[in-house]
Symmetry: C2
Subunit: 299 residues, 2 copies
Amino acid sequence: METSLSKQNIAPKVTLMRNRLVVCICLMLLQAVDLFAQSVVNNKITKIETLNRNNGIERGPAKPYLFQYGIANAFIEGLYEGHLSIDELKKHGDFGIGAPNLIDGELTIVDGIAYQSNAKGQTIEAPGQIKTPFAFVTTFKADTTLLLANVQNIDELFTRIESLLPNRNGIYALRIGGLFSKMRTRAFPAMVQKPYRPLAKLLDQQQFFELNGMDGAMIGFYMPGYLSGINITGLHFHFLSTDRTAGGHVVALTAQNLTIEITEVKSFLLETSETADFQKFQFIGGNSSGLQKIEKGGN
Amino acid sequence: METSLSKQNIAPKVTLMRNRLVVCICLMLLQAVDLFAQSVVNNKITKIETLNRNNGIERGPAKPYLFQYGIANAFIEGLYEGHLSIDELKKHGDFGIGAPNLIDGELTIVDGIAYQSNAKGQTIEAPGQIKTPFAFVTTFKADTTLLLANVQNIDELFTRIESLLPNRNGIYALRIGGLFSKMRTRAFPAMVQKPYRPLAKLLDQQQFFELNGMDGAMIGFYMPGYLSGINITGLHFHFLSTDRTAGGHVVALTAQNLTIEITEVKSFLLETSETADFQKFQFIGGNSSGLQKIEKGGN
């Protein structure tokens, strides 16, 4: 009995200890749950505060948005040096076109991968650290798909597309896949000496490529008239073969069995470099005489 | 002993039940913690998926950004009907200017509050549901402050500001506070009949106000040349008295003890309406002859 009693005396103590331990674990768990819940709340609050400090509470762009880096009118006058990396560009979209640093070929971004089609006729995956002076991308997700059986030339294609787009003052991303019995592309060689001459005076340096009979896709955009000078108004495409070994800026074509996928872009986001070259660039234009009168409240 | 034994027999059972209950609670708590953790993880995954679907993974605008609704060249030609509410506009910034629906006065947004200065000389807080055809806002946080003791007229002020801005191709928001010994503002009355005539032909309907000797602030922007046609290039201000009872578009001034606060804007975000009026608007311009050659790869 002594043993039994002592056992019986110990047993409740052990049970009590176990109980206390379990209660303790429970309390710790409760505490943990509480802390976890609090940390979630705190994280949320911290985030909101951080956002406020960074002016991050704004609604941001309606999506999908077109992101553009650089201004067409400055680019074509000789601002060929790139200052935004392909990696940074791709943070704004998976689909687009542009120019590599020093217009060393043509840039085409599709399915989140950037390709550089150079003046030697090569198309390679563009390294993420390569910089662009002028490019524009969006997140492509077709909202409309059209089929065209036969297209004789680029003017016919452009006329038909423009007649099909619902809003001539909208922005559209277009991916046109099919068989191109004729596909003429061009690419510029990299510029080497500064000051760079305007692009319109360098057309003799273009290299042309006949990529006839290839399967591939035209990657590009329709831009409305009000973006004249900032981008290129109307339709503008780069080509990329299905095997992604050939491409360039599209200048002529004949095509069969085209699938035209269209993404309507909802807003336009523009960034420029802050380089001295850009800052001192003199844009032609200014306010119209009508706008000047309105601004001044009279003549 | 019988009683004692039976008590002793019951006691461990009760203890065991208690233990089991506690363990059970613990397991439930563990389960709850697990479920909570899972739901957090699941929510995150769901959110990421939702974001992907909504194209929400993009970097968005460099901040502070300027948000603009509408196109200047379309607005001044008669697109006076508003389609974006002040409440929606203010989601993009706390500082800016614009036009109320049917150009019923001038719109000035400061410290997150929108004011409407109408052609009767009243300045009232603009109801959030009022819509604007053309307005632009940013989140104002001065990065530079300049002081000017005396300014004889608006041309002198504009010349001095433009000489002080570091980048003529940048976008700047400016808040100019001080004593205005002369402040001449104007406001248009609301247009009533469609089709609306171009604004430059409605200048005889402007009402002018002499708000001389008032303390107040000029709220406005410097816009670079490449935004010609989309916005108003150069400097453009609305006035708001310190007591916020008077204001309008600034056309003339003499001022003392000016504090010029400047926010450099890092990106430009543009949205337009999708109304039939906007869709059918014919923008003048298009690609320059040089750009046309570049696009086509030759003449």
